[in-house]
């Protein structure tokens, strides 16, 4: 089964945005065992989109298009795809109702004429409700080919794909795919790759693929067989081998679980509370923790102490510490973590202080120098990091490593129970 992507949007051709949808959809299609040989990008232009779609339909079984489903005149993916497939558009009462509903609850109360364009659907098509916007997704089938239209914004495309399109594509395939994501934190990409070079070189079924993210490396193990049970059995020895090689660096084997979810779960299990004391990450750790539904059980409050005065006032960091060692120092990070836990009455506190740049670095304390502290169960540890990259990348790395250190502290403590 051959699948092909067409991403629609002049903003992609102008380089206004990076095409993360293509990477996301490619990864998912690979996971489903579909072969992909072509991806393309065209602008908001009916003629060129038509040509691209015709070419794609000639060489592939399934064509996924993303973007161009919005209410504006630019948006013409649906109209063009329906024309290429030779299927007329018709208003879908259900979609019209959903748009009315959406606007009733939206801050923008005015429905303009162009919004109703989004309720038009190719006759006989499968309509995919959009939980995060007004443009429904659409699946058209004809002459053994499928054309799938998805909205461009990743916040709409991803939930729609996970909720509906994945299952649809899975059913087109005779073989069952069994895939497990082994998520590793605290080790670099090339280190991980080196450790599994032999497994990669000899892979057949299951296969193994690496995906590097900030602060973590994901390994996807995929097996194909006639039944799920059989495929799972094929994957098992490889998974066992990975657990043997990476041990506690594996924080989950659940693809949909994030590091922060694992941490919130850990703390919940132990009925412990967490607080954050952030300087250069400026709230990013708290934001990741509170992204977990139900985080309120373990996270009651967080402090962003950006200035020295705030570090003193809110976290009781000693004046002499700031004067003698500076705000970016092991000692400040330690006091922030320790006092943060004490003052807020929390069982754990992670702290971050560093120089994210672009200015403010010195020879002694260059941009990228970050101290991360963690107080857990009355023990406080601090680690020094030298991160590379731009301001936002340094902050993201610091955030990820704060979560990794917190997890390490919880695990280490567990070992001593």
């Amino acid at each position: 089964m051959v699948v092909e992507l067409i991403c629609v949007g002049t903003e992609l051709l102008l380089g206004n945005i990076v095409n993360t949808n293509a990477a996301y959809l490619s990864e998912k299609c690979a996971l489903l065992g579909l072969s992909m040989y072509h991806q393309s990008v065209v602008g908001d232009n009916a003629e060129r989109l038509k040509e691209s779609l015709e070419t794609a339909l000639n060489r592939s079984d399934v064509v996924i298009l993303s973007g161009g489903l919005g209410p504006t005149q630019d948006d013409l993916t649906k109209e063009t795809a329906a024309e290429v497939m030779g299927i007329p558009l018709k208003e879908d009462p259900h979609s019209r109702e959903r748009i009315e509903e959406y606007f009733k609850n939206s801050q923008y109360k005015v429905i303009t004429d162009n919004n109703w364009k989004q309720a038009l659907v190719p006759e006989g098509a499968i309509v995919l409700d959009n939980e995060n916007g007004t443009a429904p997704g659409i699946i058209m089938e004809k002459n053994g080919k499928s054309v799938i239209l998805l909205p461009g914004p990743p916040g709409e495309l991803i939930p729609m794909f996970e909720g509906k399109v994945y299952d649809y594509l899975n059913k087109l395939q005779p073989e069952i795919i069994y895939s497990t994501m082994v998520r590793i934190c605290g080790l670099g990409e090339s280190f991980v790759e080196n450790e599994i070079r032999d497994l990669i070189d000899n892979q057949t079924n299951p296969t193994i693929a690496t995906y590097a993210k900030i602060g973590q490396v994901d390994l996807r193990v995929t097996a194909k067989a006639a039944s799920e049970k059989e495929a799972a059995k094929l994957a098992k020895p490889m998974l066992k081998e990975l657990v043997k090689r990476f041990g506690d660096h594996i924080y989950t084997m659940d693809e949909h679980k994030s590091l922060e979810e694992v941490i919130v779960h850990f703390l919940k299990e132990r009925s412990l509370t967490l607080t954050t004391a952030e300087s250069c990450t400026g709230g990013m750790i708290a934001a990741r923790i509170t992204d977990v539904p139900g985080a309120s059980e373990v996270f009651k409050q967080g402090l962003v102490t950006y200035s020295n005065r705030a570090k003193r006032k809110l976290l009781d960091v000693k004046k002499t510490t700031l004067k003698e060692y500076g705000a970016v120092s092991e000692k400040t990070a330690k006091e922030m973590a320790k006092n943060g836990a004490f003052i807020t009455g929390s069982d754990a506190c992670v702290s971050v202080t560093g120089t994210a740049g672009p200015t403010g670095g010195t020879e002694e304390k260059p941009v990228g120098l970050v101290y991360i502290g963690c107080c857990y169960n009355n023990k406080t540890v601090v680690k020094e990091f030298h991160f590379k990259g731009e301001r936002q990348k340094i902050r993201e790395q610091a955030t990820a490593n704060a979560l990794i250190l917190l997890r390490e502290c919880i695990l280490a403590d567990k070992g001593q129970e």
Copy 2:
């Protein structure tokens, strides 16, 4: 002059990496005033690459290929492109020398046979030295068409493009592009589009394009002319018209400026300080503010008060308020903002309290109900919002709207000065 991209690499088709090269090259080509109508991705497969390149050469003047110039057997971009162009390969003594030099200085001292493959160059081609790797870039010209081959790793591609390819492309182009991004906040995409329908319908030069993001809409106005001055002059009436129609909703005309940067700049100008009092956004507003370099001048501290107890303890929200109105209420948001400013001694404080879901919603207070408060210059306003979508999307919308409300309060105050 029409340019087209072909990115070569199976890792792109598998979704192992995000295609940042395409975004980078597209943006540069747009800046150079080159028109781009197509981008494509193919794997390391000679037949499909050949087909793609032939198609591209039929419809474009310049084709830029990235990737597949490495020393391994997989790497066949150069061989395939030379074949399509009908130009034989020949060893280039200069490139051979550079490879020898590179290995002398590298940690990998062993030159294998396949490394010499990289010294082969199409006859008469322009060779672009690679300062960051062994694969030289190549420009082939024939029958008025140019084919440009660049290495895949961004760390090699970007310096090579900036150093050599930019100038080469600039010389091919007689026209200059002048582009301005008009960034609008606080209005929905279809509302904005409706307001400018006449401008869109009648666009020729300049053109106008809309880009929707969370909480904002960007309008790109692009004019082409023989000189930058002339192009700027062409764009001016359109820009004036947009200012007339959207007024204060336009927060910047600087493409590289974010809403948070504009706000930090506003506050700096007025020597004012800001704090944040966040519940459901859990630090996201503070994180956006501190993403601005130099935010420390205006942002000293932020509070994440996730629990009722933290709201009482850190922000002095009245027990009776929480009991009678609940944490998600106008009154709580008001006290959070007002007390937040007072307690921290800040001139401004934005507060957010709401239900981000997925659970915790009631009929009276459904998921998505968010109150955003802003205390500025001793006046406090609160707005009620009903956001749609998943937890993360609700939080992002709340964050964006908190920044928008803060900007509104600053502007309103300015009017009364």
